[in-house]
Every structure is written in structure tokens, then in C-alpha cells.
Symmetry: C2
Subunit: 287 residues, 2 copies
């Protein structure tokens, strides 16, 4: 029903060459977050962050947020709001309005406006031969979730705390999205559902396959976390062969992106080091 990119691109008259962006995403307690493992403040942070990430994945920057909370009592609302405001401050995306309502179940819907000075990067622009890059290592958030599920917050090892933080307080990379756009990204997506799933969106919309030669795995995470775990909120983007995105990233004071592989002409070919993969991992492991 609402397919395509997660963020809408809108042209406003009298606003020069830029574009207004508009993203919306909801988080539902019990579904997007287990409240036994996630605080309401973390849920609030995440509700805002996932929308900021959608704007970042276009090469835009967030401007403002409106928030609708359904089914929260006053004490719950205070905790949610704490995380929402922390995220709004962190991402420079003030909450300018909202709505509170009763209802069964607790959910937070956020809509974020953004601005893109140039042409926003869609999912549909990748071409065969384009190189695939990622803005950082993958899998930390899923490894953190596994640690929480195994041991809860009380008995985490010190090296697990950074992983849990990656899960609980995802940090979309707005400047990296701008750098990728300025570097000439032909397509871009944020990794919310997992690398293979989200890169699959670029492949589906662009009509290309892909070959992944190498996947940077975050310390403490497994390759499985990196391929199929969600909530990393790094950005995966494509550029035409011969384009080096590093200088644009350095110009923003960012570390350089990591090469993942390249796009293939056959949209049915989705390969990791020569093996077929689907959104959940290696195909030969399935069934």
C-alpha cells in the first residue's frame, strides 16, 4: 500500500532547489521492543531515531518531529518522553507537536520532516557494476539484543554493554548520509531490518542483483548478526564504479565507508562470497 522509499520527497514552491522530506514510522511495545528488556525511555528514543534514520538514508537532515502516543499512562508517558527529548536533542530534531490518546496497547508514531539541499537519494537508482558501501560495521545491535535476552541488564559483561547500547540507543548517521549523497550515491538505504533485507530493497527497486565480497562485523557480533540482525542504522549505498566516496566523508570529518561488493545485472543473483543468500542469510541453510 505504501511502498517504495521510507521517506517521501516533496517539492515546495518558492524554496529553491532543495526538497522537503517527510518520514513516518511507529514503534509498538511488545512487537518492536520487549518492555522486559527495553526501557520506555529507550522506546521513545528509538521511535524518533528510526525516523531520523529514514531521512538520513535520503541524504537529508531532520528538521522537526511530531509524536503521537497511544495507550500510555502518565508515568509511562514521562519515561517515553525522556527518551524522545534526549533523541530530539541529540539529532537536532525538536518535537513541535503531538497527540496523546488512550487505547489498547502502547504505541508511538512519529513523523519527521527533513530537508535535502540537493537531489535526495532513492532506493531505485543502483545500476549493474555500481559499488556497494556501508558507513560502518554491522551486527552490534543484534548482538546486544542477544546478550540482553540471555542475561538481562543486571549481569552483562563489560564488553557487552556497548553492544546493548547499540541496541537500546541506535544512532542514525545523518552526516554520513549527506556525505554519501555528495559523493554521488546512486541508491541508499538504512539498515533497520538487516543488511541482506535492506540491501534487498535497493536490489528490488533498482532491478539489480548484488555480490558481497566482504562484510565488516562489529566487535562482539557474529557474521549472522551482521547479515540478518536489524537495528544497526548504518547506511548502505551504491556509487558508480570508479567513484571513491572517501573524500566526501573526510570532508565531513567522518571515517571512510567500507566497501561491501558490487551490483550485478541479474536481479535474481544475490551472492555472499559466491553463495546465494536471501534476506534471512544463506539460502542453503533454509528450509
Amino acid at each position: 500500500m505504501w511502498l517504495g522509499d521510507d521517506t517521501a520527497v516533496l517539492r515546495l514552491d518558492r524554496c529553491g532547489g532543495g526538497r522537503l522530506l517527510l518520514a513516518t514510522d511507529a514503534v509498538v511495545a511488545g512487537l518492536d521492543a520487549d518492555l522486559a528488556l527495553t526501557s520506555l525511555a529507550d522506546l521513545g528514543w528509538k521511535a524518533l531515531a528510526v525516523n531520523v534514520s529514514d531521512v538520513a538514508a535520503m541524504g537529508g537532515r531532520p528538521l522537526h518531529a511530531v509524536v503521537t502516543v497511544i495507550g500510555a499512562g502518565l508515568a509511562q508517558l514521562r519515561q517515553l518522553y525522556e527518551g524522545i527529548v534526549q533523541a530530539a536533542t541529540h539529532f537536532g530534531c525538536p518535537v513541535v507537536g503531538g497527540d496523546l490518546s488512550g487505547g489498547e496497547g502502547l504505541s508511538v508514531s512519529v513523523a519527521v520532516t527533513g530537508w535535502c539541499d540537493g537531489q535526495p537519494v532513492l532506493r531505485s537508482g543502483a545500476r549493474p557494476g555500481d559499488r556497494i558501501w556501508v558507513t560502518g560495521a554491522l551486527g552490534a545491535a543484534n548482538a546486544g539484543l542477544r546478550a540482553l535476552q540471555a542475561r538481562g541488564t543486571a549481569s552483562l559483561a563489560p564488553d557487552e554493554e556497548a553492544l546493548v547500547l547499540a541496541h537500546a540507543r541506535p544512532r542514525p548517521v545523518v552526516a554520513a548520509g549527506t556525505a554519501a549523497r555528495e559523493a554521488g550515491a546512486t541508491a541508499m538505504v538504512d539498515v533497520s531490518d538487516g543488511l541482506l533485507s535492506d540491501l534487498g530493497h535497493i536490489a528490488d527497486r533498482s532491478g539489480v542483483g548484488f555480490h558481497l565480497a566482504d562484510v565488516p562485523v562489529a566487535p562482539g557480533a557474529t557474521l549472522e548478526d551482521a547479515l540478518a540482525g536489524g537495528d544497526d542504522y548504518v547506511l548502505v549505498f551504491t556509487v558508480s564504479d570508479g567513484t571513491a566516496p572517501g573524500p566526501a566523508f573526510r570532508a565531513h570529518g567522518l571515517s571512510e565507508p567500507v566497501a561491501l561488493g558490487y551490483c550485478l545485472p541479474d536481479p535474481t543473483q544475490r551472492l555472499l562470497q559466491g553463495d546465494a543468500v536471501d534476506a534471512r542469510g544463506w539460502q542453503h541453510r533454509l528450509g
Copy 2:
């Protein structure tokens, strides 16, 4: 937590003197609408319409909508979507994105962007002596709800069908909001919760009282419907004494607004033909 006007006013660089507006509102099945009396298509229409009305109440026009649906099955989604698209078409406010999620309870959150060519009209600008106007008669929606509750859709009298339609398919008055702004409105609000409640928002925010000399009651409705019934989505606005809003309305091909009364310097004085009223009606009827 999110007080003030229902719509945020945003200034975008490089966009001339206009203002971007951003409104969000949710409708929750069972709370904002009784699904025994309201179709899901009507619920979808309403979810969009209430946001359009918030933009209209600033003197703006709607641009785009994003929609988040939580807890709807596929068949329910189809029906909801039918009403959402009908409203989007009617109000010229296309749905440009959205999110679907599982969850307990069915709710629809909508965020709408709007544009205002001039200075948006807030709730806080009414001054003592300002005249109070309304863009149309009041009470039809509540009378329609009463008819539905009493008899259901099957056995409505012919003259009740228009009232039920006013309840089921509210029609925000976007052009009237623009006309009121152009006429120099000092404050404006849409009647979603009831005249006395919503005019109370202007009074609260502006620090004025009010005296209502006359209230236009829709055919088939009672004075009680007009004062305390919600969902009429007419606009109530104030203009300085001596300003006649009629010409601006005629210039838009609209019928003229109706004079309701005037603002008082004492914010505790809220009077209907000399009697004290509160948001629910006459104060002496309460307790």
C-alpha cells in the same frame, strides 16, 4: 506536554515569507469512533480530515499526509484505506508515505504538512473587544451521532441522513480558514471537541473571556449539540472590533461567517446570553 496549537508553524530557509505547517492527530477505534456505528472507511476519512482541519484552523492549506496504521488486518486495512484516499482526494492532500504495524487495538495516526502564504493564525492572539465569528452552523455532527446511537444506520429518517453524514464524513473548511486569515483573524480554532471547549482554548491561550450573544444551530440539532457537541469542524475566529470578515469570504466564493459575540477582558468570564458556561454547557446545570 504538547500544548498550544494543534499545528506547528515552521520556518524554512529559502522559502520566501510563507510557513510550513505540521499537524498530527490519531483516531483510535472504540475511543474516537464506535465501530458498531462507524465504518472503517469513515474512520479513515476522519483520521485524515481532523488533520486537514488543524491546518485549516491556522489559515493554511494541506499539502501531504503520512499515515501510520496499527493493529489492522488486511480486510480492515482495505476499508480504512478507501476512506483515507477519498479524503485525500477530496482535500487535495495526497498520502505520500506511511507505516503499517501489528499491535493490540486499531489506531490510525496521520501527520499532515501544510502551507500558509502569510502569517498563520494562532490561538493566542485574541484581544478584549475582538468580535467572535463562526464559519457555519453548529451541532449537526452530534445530532447525527445521537440519531445513530438511537436507531443505527438502518432506520434513519430522511432528514437524519444529512446529520449522520456530518458526523461520519466531516468536511473541514480550508478555504474559509484562508478567508478568515486574510480578513485579519487574530485567533482561530476548529470545533473538534465542541464550541465552548474549543473557544475555551482561544480564551485560555489569549487570556480573554467571552460573551456569546447568539449561536447558529444546524437544522435538526439542539442548542446543547451546538455548544458542547464535537466533530463539527467549522472554524471559530476572532477579529478586531470594526473589522468585517464578510468581504474576504465573498472573495473566496464562500457564504459569510456568523457573528457569535465578543471577547471580554476578564478571562474568568465565559458567558452565553449573560449566563456563565463552561466547556460542557451551562454551569448551573452541573454538579
